[in-house]
């Protein structure tokens, strides 16, 4: 990063429009994250139609800020209602609530704000250093390396969603099947369009995502009317007093949470929620006082709170360098990047260094403004949580309809959204993870392109996929991941049968 690039990037951000967008996106992200049932992914999906009409930098600023804020804000109802606002706060909602019962809600939420910002900044530092270095390596990649990389990314998504690897793989193949629709294939043959011109362009990723992450959630909420939220508890105790002491007491936990969080975020398919679960467990495992966990002990919140925000930044590493999303939020981001003609991939770092640098600066900015905004959100928590769900959900539904319409300006898009919403709802009822569907849909065209190109280059000989050294290494790792998945699956089946 040269000084000129940095100055150019700062010039892009100093635009009042960008700063106003950051302000509004912060408020939006905090609200959506704090409302139980509305997730950070949903916040991002709902923002997309609005970002259509912005230049690239404000559009990216809106998404980065809203997602970081939403992940922190999920802690608020976790502490005050024992209901996590987003899945990323689920790991330690009980712990935070136990602290609230002891009159330490302020400390719990303060730790949420401070260590979320710490984790987010740590993840950003890794993003700033790792992404350009990886991009240098990736410049030499051919279709073989990309083929294995996409395979590895997709496999990680299934491997990490360990509830049922078979169901994860099926969800992935459903996404890949949906990606077949349309003209976007090496031979430009219309596939699975059933004679409709609307399907020629394929399934729009944004419409599918609004369906799976927002409509499915609205359907779940209207199907459970009558389950009202209990009144939230008051925030007692100071928010920021004592946080510096926590930082001095738990530096290892904060750093470990941030490192593991960044790493998990960077793995395709796994995001902030899995990062929080894993780091809450490592925090307890290595704690000097493991017996205090579950009874209102802040140590786990420090580690997992840092981890989930670090994951948000980490997920951008593969998204920017390879165009492979690290989580469901960056899956949406990739769609937005293409729309803005900011094509993710190693050449992005060469061709548009000022855009990449501006993005990095926005990450720092978003995580810094989280501290005052987070404080405000905690202070107004009871008002946010008083918004009735029976009013909110229909408005979210209407917003989804207009958002899906705005992508293609056709009611057909609203139909696509509805179909995917229903699919997501039924899948979740039957224990199928939905994130692999979206990954399959996003990565399908890329996987097909590299697969067919590689097959033609290797003349159908699969050994050709292993001839280049990096491709061979990636291929072997992918095959090892597949092998371990099959072995684990078989072992689980044998155990169940025994």
């Amino acid at each position: 990063m040269t000084v000129d690039t940095l100055l150019a990037a700062l010039g892009l951000i100093a635009d009042p429009q960008v700063l106003i967008v950051i302000l509004f996106a912060s408020a939006f992200g905090l609200f959506v994250g704090a409302m139980p049932g509305l997730t950070a992914t949903m916040a991002t999906a709902l923002l997309v139609p609005i970002t259509f009409f912005m230049p690239p930098i404000p559009a990216l600023a809106a998404i980065v800020t809203a997602s970081a804020m939403a992940i922190f804000a999920g802690d608020i109802p976790g502490a005050l209602l024992r209901i996590p606002g987003t899945p990323a706060s689920a790991a330690y909602a009980d712990e935070a609530y136990a602290m609230t019962l002891k009159g330490q809600a302020g400390t719990a939420l303060g730790a949420g704000v401070v260590f979320s910002a710490f984790g987010g900044i740590f993840g950003t530092v890794v993003l700033v250093t790792a992404a350009p270095a990886l991009a240098e390596v990736a410049l030499a990649f051919s279709s073989f390396e990309y083929f294995w990389l996409v395979c590895l990314g997709l496999s990680c998504a299934v491997l990490i969603a360990q509830d049922s690897a078979i169901k994860g793989m099926l969800a992935l193949f459903l996404g890949l099947a949906a990606a077949l629709i349309g003209l976007e294939n090496p031979a430009a043959v219309p596939r699975l369009t059933f004679g409709t011109t609307e399907l020629m362009g394929g399934i729009d990723m944004i419409q599918a995502m609004i369906g799976m992450f927002a409509i499915a959630e609205v359907l779940r909420a209207v199907a459970a009317t009558g389950t009202r939220l209990p009144p939230p508890r008051a925030v007692t105790g100071a928010i920021f007093a004592g946080q510096w002491e926590l930082m001095k007491k738990y530096p290892v936990q904060a750093l470990r949470g941030s490192s593991i969080g960044t790493l998990i975020g960077a793995l395709p398919g796994a995001g902030a929620d899995i990062a929080a679960w894993i780091t809450y467990a490592t925090s307890k495992r290595f704690s000097k006082e493991p017996e205090k966990f579950g009874q209102g002990h802040v140590e786990g919140i420090v580690e997992a709170g840092a981890a989930n925000n670090a994951a948000v930044s980490g997920a951008w590493i593969p998204a920017l360098v390879f165009g492979i999303p690290g989580d469901s939020i960056t899956a949406i981001v990739i769609g937005v990047l293409y729309l803005k003609n900011v094509i993710p991939g190693p050449t992005l770092f060469l061709n548009q260094p000022q855009t990449v640098t501006a993005l990095f600066v926005i990450f720092f900015l978003a995580n810094l403004v989280m501290i005052p905004f987070g404080w405000l959100a905690v202070k107004s928590a009871r008002r946010i949580l008083a918004v009735p769900r029976e009013v909110l959900m229909p408005i979210v539904l209407m917003f989804c309809i207009v958002g899906a319409f705005a992508v293609t300006n056709s009611p057909f898009g609203v139909g696509v959204m509805l179909a995917f919403g229903l699919l997501g709802f039924v899948m979740e009822e039957n224990g199928f993870p939905v994130a692999p569907v979206i990954l399959g849909l996003v990565l399908g065209p890329m996987l097909e392109q590299h697969f067919v190109t590689s097959m033609i280059k290797a003349d159908g000989m699969l050994l050709g996929f292993f001839k280049r050294p990096i491709a061979a290494a990636l291929g072997v790792v992918t095959l090892l991941v597949w092998g371990s998945m099959i072995w684990r699956g078989l072992r689980a089946l044998v155990r169940k049968a025994a």
Partner: protein
Amino acid sequence: MRLDDRLTGALLLALAIALLVYAMGLPPMPGQRYGAAAFPTVVALGLGLFSVLLIWQGWRTRRPGAPLFAWAGWVKDSRNLGNFLLSLALVGVYVAASDKIGFIPLSLAILFALFVRQGVTWGRAAAIAALATAAIQYAFASLLRVPLPRGLLDSIL
């Protein structure tokens, strides 16, 4: 709607077979051995393989007497089922009729119906529906220039 893994597996296997048959009928790319059919074939085979594994898993873990298909708990509550079906139907109506009727009347109707259905009083429902519709119309149609369908109000807007 809860399906037994064996039934889900069978449905997905049928989908995989249909996809495979479809892929076999796709035209080849002139001068190349691999074209539009190569990737769909791989996807169909993968989908088929894991469908068979799901059927096998469902078979190994089946419980005697468990039905292949069962409704989820919320379906038995007529109010919840009504809310669910109404939401689906209203979005369906929007898809089918938005061009003719337009965004504003449909948004008012959809929001009002859902609010009232979920227990909001009539007056409050009407007021919030009007406010929300006006806000969305202003934000999307005026500020963001999304051509929201005008329908019946074409001559006024």
